[in-house]
Amino acid sequence: MGKQTIIPFGPQHPVLPEPLHLDLVLEDERIVDAIPSIGYVHRGLELLVSKKEYAEYVYVAERICGICSFMHGLGYCQAVEEIMEIQVPERALFLRTIWAELSRIHSHLMWFGLAADAFGLENLFMLSWRLRESVLDIIEETSGGRVIFGACKIGGVRRDISPETLRDMCQKLEKLKGHMDRLTGVFLNDRSVGYRLKGIGVLTREDAQRLGAVGPLLRASGVDMDMRRLGYAAYERLSFEPVTENDGDCYARCAVRARELYQSIDLIAQAVSMMPDGEVDTKVLGAPKGECFMRLEQPRGEVLYYVRADGTRYIERFRVRTPTFTNIPSMIHCLKGCDFSDVPNVILTIDPCISCIER
């Protein structure tokens, strides 16, 4: 047994440009323990909800995190709609689905870039972020914002997408598939990449369930759970199967995300083909009263919103349980026994989003 060293990983670390702090206990180069601490950029957004009118808070909720911004807005809207029993127009539901899937594609592509950077392949990083740029362009064209959509509102969506733009978008995404083949091909077949990913940070099916993992992390361990099955927005009418892999290592998590990229494009194509005409929002009157749990599938996994309203224009309590937060136990579990050089890979394969944790 070697000498134990404690290495501070974060809150400022170049591999993980987000303020998560980990104290890594090392024996030579092997991790024996990891102690996380968070709260470095806590913004008190959950408290802010009682200071803002419920309809305006959507824009604040979207800013919980830059990458899953649409999901946060959507979750908040759905929770309030559920409490107020608002019937959202059909077309708005489909538009929400399309934007949600676009945001998943852009999040996954960004993740691929960061993962490539973690094992020291900048070129691959540049490739995936280049592909992401084309998705961001689609998002900007349709919603007006590059990462903060600002498209969701209580009772529907704020703007419609014209049929030509939708058709255009489908063609662009179809073209993107070809480029994505190159990206995922390198991730899944390259020898040196495989050396850094295969058999690293294994999370077995039992451990994943015991430690409450969600999202691609859980699906990579062979558990078929996807909150889109709840059928929110238009998912009820789209056909898809959750992507699962069985190995539970970093490579399997890459594979899950790679296949989800194609799945998302497919879902968008389905949604576009089934999209009905009509209004995109309804008038919202009154104020919410009641409480509600709302779950969605973010790019990083299951997210849960809890909204409690007391009949005034202000929400009483808003809580977000983000996927990253609930994946922390699994991350710590995976880190133990890893090499120090695998730390960035393992941390990144849970796709940590610290701004999500720090509401």
């Binding site: 803002k52 009118e53 305006e56 808070y57 824009y59 604040v60 979207e62 800013r63 392949l121 070129n123 691959l124 490739l127 280049r130 740029e133 362009d137 900007e140 064209e141 349709t142 919603s143 007006g144 914002g145 903060i148 600002g150 704020r158 703007r159 190159r182 091909g185 390198v186 899944l188 077949n189 390259d190």
Partner: protein, 123 residues
């Protein structure tokens, strides 16, 4: 899967135009929908304070008595909520981003009384 995919991709890039640009020297392409920045048009404003009330980040301050309208640019999150709500249509989103600044600046507009054609915007 072909062998040496990365190498080939890199060599291909060598003979292509770079995908990046030297922003802001080479300008970005904006879309008609882009929510770039908030633009205020003083002439139609009735100082109804609706935009102030509905701003999620308290970036707008309106003083009806003094006929003043003020925007804290660094607080504005360009959500466009005020543009949707403004009855006179004097708030719009320009599809162009703000330039980088060093210090937070307030944008200050004031209508001179009595109402004349001389509307001046003071920074």
């Amino acid at each position: 899967m072909k062998k040496f995919a990365m190498e080939r991709m890199s060599l291909n890039n060598l003979f292509r135009k770079p995908s990046t640009r030297l922003y802001p020297d080479a300008p970005k392409k904006y879309f008609p929908n882009t929510r770039g920045r908030l633009v205020f048009n003083l002439s139609d404003c009735t100082f109804c304070t609706l935009c102030q009330k509905k701003c999620p980040t308290h970036a707008i301050t309106v003083r009806r008595e003094q006929q003043e309208w003020e925007l804290e640019r660094m607080r504005c999150i360009a959500c466009g909520n005020c543009c949707d709500l403004c009855r006179k249509g004097c708030l719009t989103m320009k599809n162009e981003l703000t330039k980088a600044v060093i210090l937070p600046e307030r944008e200050y507009y004031r209508r001179e009384k009595p109402q004349s054609s001389g509307e001046d915007a003071v920074k």
